[in-house]
Amino acid sequence: MLLRIIAASAALMLGPAFAMAQGAKPNDAQIAHIAYTADQIDIGAAKLALQKSKNKEVRAFAQDMVRDHTAVNQKALALLKKLNVKPEDNDTSKSLSQQAKATAASLKKLNGAAFDKAYADNEVEYHKTVNGALENTLIPSANNPELKELLQTGLKIFQGHQQHADQVAKSL
């Protein structure tokens, strides 16, 4: 029960960060920074899981996250270079990073099956939140068609991750 509360609160913490982005329409440079930050956060969580978890399913999932989010970020950075857009730090990115630190801190306190469950549950909620932000804020706000297209592909990738995370969480 305590675990569930920790996992739920870790996931909930991510909510307000994206809610801020809905108030003001972010520009392409800010969108790029938010998307990049969101990717880096998931890579960080996966690396923590690879340090801590011994569960085969959890480790395989974490490896998938590192590989996919790294590939997305490489693609995004190449596109930004081509478009000559410099990612612009903003309040949404800052608040995402802060909350990710808090989530990582609570995950670090857990071990074994408790860690696995909290990590998997958080991955479900995190991808759900990111996907909501992509769908409702980032994709509609993006100006450049190539950036919009990459975000749309990103949404499909992360919807896949959400389903995969859900399968892993249910298997634990």
Binding site: D64, R67, D68, A71, V72, Q74, K75, T153, K156, I157, Q159, G160, H161, Q163, H164, Q167
Partner: protein, 104 residues
């Protein structure tokens, strides 16, 4: 002359009774979709997935019969061993699904 004729006739007969030559059917993997998502094939045909995405995918049979890795910008293939309706998905992105109808 007569022998030759017999030879041609025998060859023609053999061809007529042979099953159709095995085909390779291509499925594109692009932007998190298998295209076409449904293909019809025969036993002995090869399905070839051509990954145009910047990510690795898999084609994994729901019944766990096969699990094909399709690295980015690479192809993966299987040869169909028996008939039936085969459903498959990507292990990394389970929102990607496809189907192969295999005729005996």
């Amino acid at each position: 002359m007569a022998t030759k004729l017999w030879g041609v006739a025998a060859a023609a007969l053999a061809l007529a009774t042979l099953p159709a030559a095995a085909e390779t059917i291509s499925v594109n993997v692009d932007k998190l979709s298998y295209t076409p998502a449904e293909v019809s094939a025969h036993v002995g045909d090869t399905i070839e997935w051509v990954n145009g995405d910047f990510l690795a995918h898999t084609a994994t049979a729901r019944n766990k019969e096969w699990d094909v890795m399709i690295m980015r910008n690479k192809t993966g293939r299987i040869t169909l061993k028996h008939g039936g309706n085969l459903e498959y998905y990507c292990r990394f992105h389970p929102n990607m699904t496809g189907r192969i109808s295999v005729a005996e």
